[in-house]
Symmetry: C2
Subunit: 377 residues, 2 copies
């Protein structure tokens, strides 16, 4: 599907030509890439969530993952039988599979490139591969990479590069008939993007018109458009999210907005608040990982996750500062529990919160979407 022909709503005080800059149309099929994903030392761990997300939800084939500490294993061990992708030790081992691009598959705090990955990136450029990155440190701004890429005629793609426009929020009202759902979470790196994608899939399966609004580098790699909200100038965070939702509403009635961070994560809360107040969602779905006690990256520093009822109440209070919204479902990330324990935890949380609860990544998004639809439809 290409939506190059989609109608772009315009609005009063903006610059439509600038606003168009952020939209990256989905590549048409001949332009699809064949990826090898660099996730050295991290595959299957939280920092490799970009790799996992692109493998699980992306449209372009992934031929191999580079992680010398897990070489010889197979992605199917982590993601299940549908994902028969070898983990190899070096780029050289992946080249016979004829990849066309090296995708940097981690999202470390601060978004910096691990220095020892430079050699692999340069080798990939020399081998004629495009470089696809979501780091804060842009590969296309690196003089050595840029020079090598120019010589070899390959592309350096920075999906986190912010849009070129500067617009504050204007208080746009949602398109009548649209339903905007934002995933929020008790922490960062807890599955908000995956839950939004599973809900979108369930809505599609129900025959509804939908869209997914990507707000992070992995979501943009998967969907082909969006903006990395953690990279925006803070004065324009709310305004850019408002605009992204407007684009989503032009594509479908059920708009699933990928959440970021959490309202109580000491490092990332500013981004999360901008999303809530910029998207002004009709409903929110709260994502939580049973057993996670401390905020990601802040373990041992006294930053504890709060109880779910308290978290739900605070999300509704914070959203209500700008426009009323409700938490209409809970998504659990139960990957550490066996199936019966997962189902028991889902039932326990449903009773604790009074909300439909499920693990949409593990058990499908239908039940949770039905609850969202009943609440908002």
């Amino acid at each position: 599907m290409s939506w190059a022909g989609a109608r772009w709503p315009t609005r009063g005080q903006q610059l439509p030509t600038l606003r168009h800059v952020t939209v990256r149309p989905l590549p048409s099929p001949p332009e699809r890439r064949r990826y090898v994903i660099l996730a050295e030392g991290e595959f299957g761990e939280l920092p490799s969530k970009t790799a996992i997300g692109v493998i699980r939800y992306g449209r372009d084939p992934v031929l191999a993952v580079i992680d010398s500490t897990r070489a010889g294993r197979n992605v199917g061990e982590w993601l299940g039988e549908g994902f028969d992708i070898p983990v190899v030790a070096t780029l050289a081992e992946a080249l016979p599979l004829r990849p066309t691009a090296l995708l940097i598959g981690i999202a470390p705090p601060g978004g910096r490139l691990p220095p020892d990955w430079r050699r692999t990136i340069l080798a990939a450029i020399d081998a004629g591969l495009d470089i696809i990155s979501g780091l804060h440190e842009f590969v296309s701004d690196d003089p050595e990479f840029a020079a090598a890429a120019a010589v070899r005629g390959v592309e350096l793609v920075d999906h986190r590069r912010p849009p070129a426009f500067h617009d504050v929020s204007t208080g746009r009202r949602h398109r009548p008939g649209s339903h905007v759902v934002l995933t929020v979470g008790t922490d960062c790196a807890i599955g908000k993007m995956s839950v939004a994608l599973e809900l979108r899939r369930a809505a599609l399966d129900a025959g509804l018109s939908t869209s997914f609004v990507a707000t992070g580098q992995t979501g943009i790699m998967i969907e082909g458009w969006g903006a990395a909200v953690d990279r925006l100038v803070s004065d324009f965070t709310n305004g850019t999210v408002e605009w992204l939702v407007e684009q989503g509403e032009a594509q479908g009635d059920w708009v699933f907005v990928e959440g970021q961070g959490s309202i109580d994560h000491p490092a990332y809360s500013s981004v999360t608040f901008g999303l809530i107040h910029g998207a002004t969602p009709h409903g929110m779905v709260l994502v939580h990982e049973p057993g996670r006690l401390e905020h990601h990256g802040w373990e041992g520093r006294g930053s504890f996750l709060k109880a779910l009822p308290e978290t739900i109440a605070m999300h509704e209070a914070v959203a209500g500062l700008v426009r009323p919204s409700r938490v209409v479902g809970v998504a659990l990330y139960t990957h550490r529990l066996d199936e019966s324990a997962a189902r028991a935890e889902i039932a326990r949380v449903a009773a604790e919160t009074g909300l439909t609860t499920d693990d949409p990544v593990r058990f499908g998004g239908e039940r949770l979407f039905d609850a969202v639809r009943a609440a908002l439809g």
Copy 2:
């Protein structure tokens, strides 16, 4: 005073050389500038808050204000007898006063340069004046301005240019013995910077060691260092504010952090949350303008200010998501009321909130600071 010799605390995972980039040392006396301030069509109105702030609190002399719609009047009509500064119609009328710099004295939403000001800026450059700007649209990135400035040998200063470092918050604890006070508000453009400066003055008068942490372009122009938090990359807002407070704590025990926006302003809330969670203040002072009902710039769009007790409770709840904090005083901006009405309103709000209330800009910051000190000291 110069604090070029101040000790810079270092911390584990940062890059001190990058972190030093943002600090703009106070100019030593011979480098002080003599300003003419451009505020065409706006002087005395909210968009000219940069002009008003620099005139009222800055250390460098202001010789004239350019506003052809108010030419012939005097700044003293707005700010009182201590401010005998003419308002003139054109730059040419100000040049005989021998200014050394043109300061752009407005802060419009979105931070764009009004197109018809370009001519005045070019004329100022031709006349040998430096250009001092706090707009989002950087004057030093403008090819025409840059070329003219190079020819004439003048400086183009963009105080809103963000620091060159990228660090997320690390959960630094405050220096023992420090007291960090953040001004917050029921709206943007309501006096948060002025209140912080008046409290700092009162603390100085009480013989305490203090600092002022500038977080907006006007504050930076006044104080000589700081960072415009609304210009930061959103992922680093909390982290940069944490670092600014660390710098403030190196200068004094009573650290007054300039607030920005409001937690319920639909356009700017993301910035405000980043400030609250990045500064983790010991106490907050809430600034409000009696009679202001709707958020600045959003009049007629249904964005109403909330009652003070509710606003106070939400600030404490939001701050408490990361670290507990209390609102320890209320500052009213009573400029629209005569003195007896102002004093009555101050008494009414004190009764409503149970907090010491005053207008520190109008009546001095001593009473409010004494309350803050009693609460936190």
